[in-house]
């Protein structure tokens, strides 16, 4: 699905990423976790083809991004960014409709409107549809952009890929879980998601595999049970913790400060 070999990235001789190998499969939900400054967002940016200067070649569905048709690519992959613009003087529905721009020329078709409505329902922003985007709270704006990304990938293409950079920031518990369930459904249909997350317990509960990073390097990349151990986590975060099985779903449960 997506393969990259030995990704390195540096800015003004300051190394941000060093020799990172990434490989994700169809239907996989990969969570990238790690302390601040580990290079998680930079890695996501590189994988999503946002940066020009990078030496490693990234293969998405066996093709480099240069080989992809610019019009075709937005139907196969989408990205949710962390730094969302806070000045978009449009209605919420207009912002979500931007996700459908790759699909229509001037007038949205019926399926575009349907995709927008469905995406707004999934992220629970349907009631805000006619509101001014600028009048929303941070968490609401976040959900509007998630709806936009979902609407973008609402199509018949098989094996799509979505990048999400800290999608759960500012969200309340209900919406955190709701969004993760939506993403889990998405990967359940043979698609792939790569998510940068801060909450290790949510990552343990939802992700198929975990990539733990520190200072631009991969510390561990494996299934949650193998990555979330007391030695690895307390070492990487430099903070004591206890790992025990979650009494409800048997996933690893990390309790910090103990």
């Amino acid at each position: 699905m997506l393969k990259a070999h030995k990704i390195s990235y540096s800015q003004r001789k300051f190394t941000i990423l060093e020799d990172i190998d990434v490989s994700v499969n169809h239907g996989e939900l990969l969570a990238i976790v790690g302390p601040n400054g580990a290079g998680k967002s930079t890695l996501l940016s590189l994988l999503a083809n946002e940066m020009d200067k990078n030496d490693a070649t990234i293969f998405f569905k066996r093709k480099t991004f240069e080989e992809w048709d610019d019009k075709e690519l937005p139907r196969h992959k989408a990205k949710f960014s962390q730094s969302n613009s806070n000045d978009i003087p449009l209605s919420v529905k207009d912002v979500v409709m931007m996700g459908r721009y790759p699909y229509f020329h001037a007038t949205p078709h019926k399926q575009d409107n349907e995709a927008v409505t469905k995406a707004m329902q999934e992220t629970d922003v349907e009631v805000l549809a006619q509101r001014d985007y600028n009048s929303l709270s941070g968490g609401e704006k976040q959900r509007v952009h998630l709806a936009r990304v979902l609407a973008q990938l609402d199509n018949e293409v098989a094996n799509k890929l979505v990048f999400l950079d800290e999608p759960l920031n500012n969200l309340d518990v209900l919406h955190q879980h709701r969004i993760l369930h939506t993403i889990k459904n998405f990967t359940g249909r043979g698609n792939t998601a790569i998510i940068v997350l801060h909450d290790l317990n949510l990552a343990a509960q939802f992700a198929d595999s975990i990539m733990l990073m520190k200072k631009g390097k991969i510390v561990s990349h494996d299934v949650p049970d193998k990555v979330f151990t007391r030695e690895i986590i307390s070492g990487v975060y430099n903070f004591p913790c206890t790992v025990c099985p979650n009494p409800v779903n048997k996933n690893p449960l990390i309790i910090f400060g103990t």
């Binding site: 019009k71 937005p74 978009i88 003087p89 209605s91 931007m98």
Partner: protein, 344 residues
Amino acid sequence: MQNRLSLYMFSSILLLMLLAAVSLYMGVYVFEKYSFAELIKGVIANDNTISDSDRFVIMGLRLPRISMAILIGSGLAVSGTCLQGMFKNPLATPDLIGITSGASLFAALAIVLGSAIKPYIPEVLHFSLLSIMAFLGALLTMMLVYRISTTNGKTNVIIMLLSGVAITALGFSITGFLIYISKEEQLRDLTFWNLGSLAAATWTKNAILAVIITISYIFLINKGKALNAMMLGERDAQHLGIPVERIKKQIVLFTALMVGTSVAFAGTISFVGLIVPYILRLIFKSNYHIILPLSAILGSVLLLAADTISRTIAAPAEVPIGILTAFMGAPIFIAILIRNRKSM
């Protein structure tokens, strides 16, 4: 959405046609025949049903001027809207960021130094020297301002406006110097630049304007979706398949062409690119998909109305049109400042 847009387009075109018809009758000279249909029929048929003086006033004076107001108004308003989309700010207009000054500075240079360099350039270029110079001036200023004020796709509004102030000051000083050293005939031309007027309209100029505006619109007028997406940020727009870099280059090139040609033929008519998008934004928010095509028509409406007023309000004398547009534009400039003072 599309039906709504067509409706608005249709009604504003109707408004423009009505205004053009009214404007044809406005002025000191009064036609012998009063019916609009008779006048038009007489001009088209060319069968002496209307007098020679009527024909001259229509074909030689009023119609070329009305056409030029329509063309330049439209071009300036679309330039303003596109620049605002590119700089992501409602204050980015050709005049405020110094593009008009850059163009008129180069035009002034062409007027004063033109006689000196004319022997060295091919003869075909003599006529268009002025517009080419104005275009170059506009293009260079735009690239300079964009380079100075924008890093990583984010525009620093204060730097953008201040570089406009700096370029305008430079243009002012050099134009002042040129006025000081110029001969009498050149002086008249230079004064015309600074105030702006459509009095020098001819069919040849209109034809050049029409060609340039048509070409520019083929590239720009359908960029509404792209400009909307660019509000998300340039990277996010790229994820939606918008070729951001290519679109920015097109905007720079074609707005420079339109602003440059307008300045070459009509001098500095300021604030059209500010007023029209501002009014449209009040009604349609910042949905460029709607306001970009509408600004093409409403720009014409605004400038035609202003020009008609400018040549009738103090008849038989004429008020320079730049004075009227600035009179409307300056309060709107202040209104935008007040509205955005928190985010600046």
